[in-house]
Amino acid sequence: MQRLCRAASTALPATGVGVSVMSDQGDPATVAASDPHSATVEDLQFTLGEGPCIDAYNSGSPVMAPDLAVAARVRWPGYGPAAQEHGVQAAFAFPLQIGAARLGALDIYRDQPGSLSPETLVEALTFADAAMTGLLDAQQHSNEDDAAPALDDALDNRFELYQAQGMVAVQLGIGLRESMIRIRAFAYAQNRPLGHVADDIVARRLALETDP
């Protein structure tokens, strides 16, 4: 994940990139950052309890703050000035989530105010997707070494996958995030494409076991 942050920081016009994992219960944590300085800025949000990354997580939408000097006054009276003291003038946060299954957020920092160009935005979303897939992989314990090619990305736009997620959550009495991890783990273990597994769950040809 740190490699991903460094790669993003280099590829994007950004001074730093950070990824934080959050949950509705428990404390949020910065899992990775492109450099120690960005890690400090990332942590700042949790110390102060406010910031773009927290808002992105809560709203499910990206939070674009192209000029912290402006945003600071109204949106984040604590975080804004503090981030600026660390040399951050613009921050962009992208939620890492699939519908209501929320994992965290990816933050992009810049030392100059200004919006992301459309090209940069597409790259940022691609890095956010990669971070999302990376977090899901890290949270499942079963044989990560094999079968990876059979599984395309977690964000393949197939409604059956999201419906299956909801069905498994109710069936096993678990949250949507865990449900997603379980479906992915099953697909890995069986070396089957995620979409096929989802189709089988929706058609009730397959029911995941209570405990793997």
Binding site: P62, G99, N157, F159, Q163, G166, M167, A169, V170
Partner: protein, 241 residues
């Protein structure tokens, strides 16, 4: 030709939703349903392009899996893809003659029982944001006057989308669009949860969800969120029979 009175009603109802608590998904849903009713189309759907330029299904006049699939496939190929790429309407396409034009899409659409298809761009000035898609079960031609009306409905969709929170910057549109795409996923997850609770299909689950919203005058997005976060507050909707 469409009754002017009925049409006026639809425009008023749509304009009515452009308020502070505007919900993009709800609005697109309403538009898809009305478009389908007005034109005796068998189905209508709205697709929006995400930031990567991939078309995503946002709303449909009905949520049968095979229909959703027909919208989804157009992220790669089909009338909506053409319409989005060129910024121009695709009108009166005969699906039985379209196997060369759309080798994946056309046979599936025919197999689902459709014979004609139309796609109208969601466009403002030079930018195209998505497409309004209509399917018919016969190959009858849509009258030129009617195509103008459908385009007007598509224009309303664009205005509705761009007016929310007075979008002035590209950044605002990014926030809204990505948020709406995620909401669409939440609705699918809620459908799955309802389906499992009542041992029904996701299609039937969507009908239950929509009926619940109508009976209680609640927006789809809110109820879908509550299915996930507070199912106990939804009474029979989330109680197994």
């Amino acid at each position: 030709m469409i009754a002017a009175e009925r049409l006026a009603q639809v425009f008023v109802e749509l304009a009515d939703t452009l308020t502070d608590d505007f919900d993009l998904i709800e609005f697109l849903q309403l538009l898809a349903t009305h478009t389908s009713d007005l034109f005796d189309a068998r189905a209508a759907g709205l697709l929006l392009a995400d930031q990567r330029g991939r078309l995503q299904v946002m709303a449909a006049s009905d949520e049968r899996a095979e229909l959703l699939e027909l919208f989804q496939v157009q992220a790669h190929e089909g009338p909506c893809q053409d319409c989005f790429t060129h910024g121009e309407a695709v009108v009166n396409a005969d699906l039985t003659q379209a196997h060369h034009r759309w080798p994946t899409f056309a046979p599936r659409a025919v197999a689902a029982g459709y014979r004609s298809v139309h796609a109208f761009p969601l466009r403002l000035r030079k930018q195209t944001y998505g497409a309004l898609n209509l399917f018919g079960t016969d190959t009858g031609q849509m009258a030129p006057a009617d195509t103008k009306i459908v385009q007007a409905l598509a224009d309303i969709a664009t205005i509705g989308m761009l007016q929310q929170r007075a979008i002035q910057r590209g950044d605002d549109l990014t926030e809204q669009l990505q948020g709406a795409l995620n909401t669409r996923i939440v609705i699918e997850q809620a459908k799955g949860m309802i389906a499992q609770t009542h041992a029904i299909t996701p299609d039937q689950a969507f009908n239950m969800l929509r009926d619940y919203c109508r009976r209680n005058g609640l927006p789809l997005t809110d109820v879908a969120n509550r299915v996930i976060t507070a199912p106990a507050s939804l009474g029979e909707l989330m109680t197994p029979a």
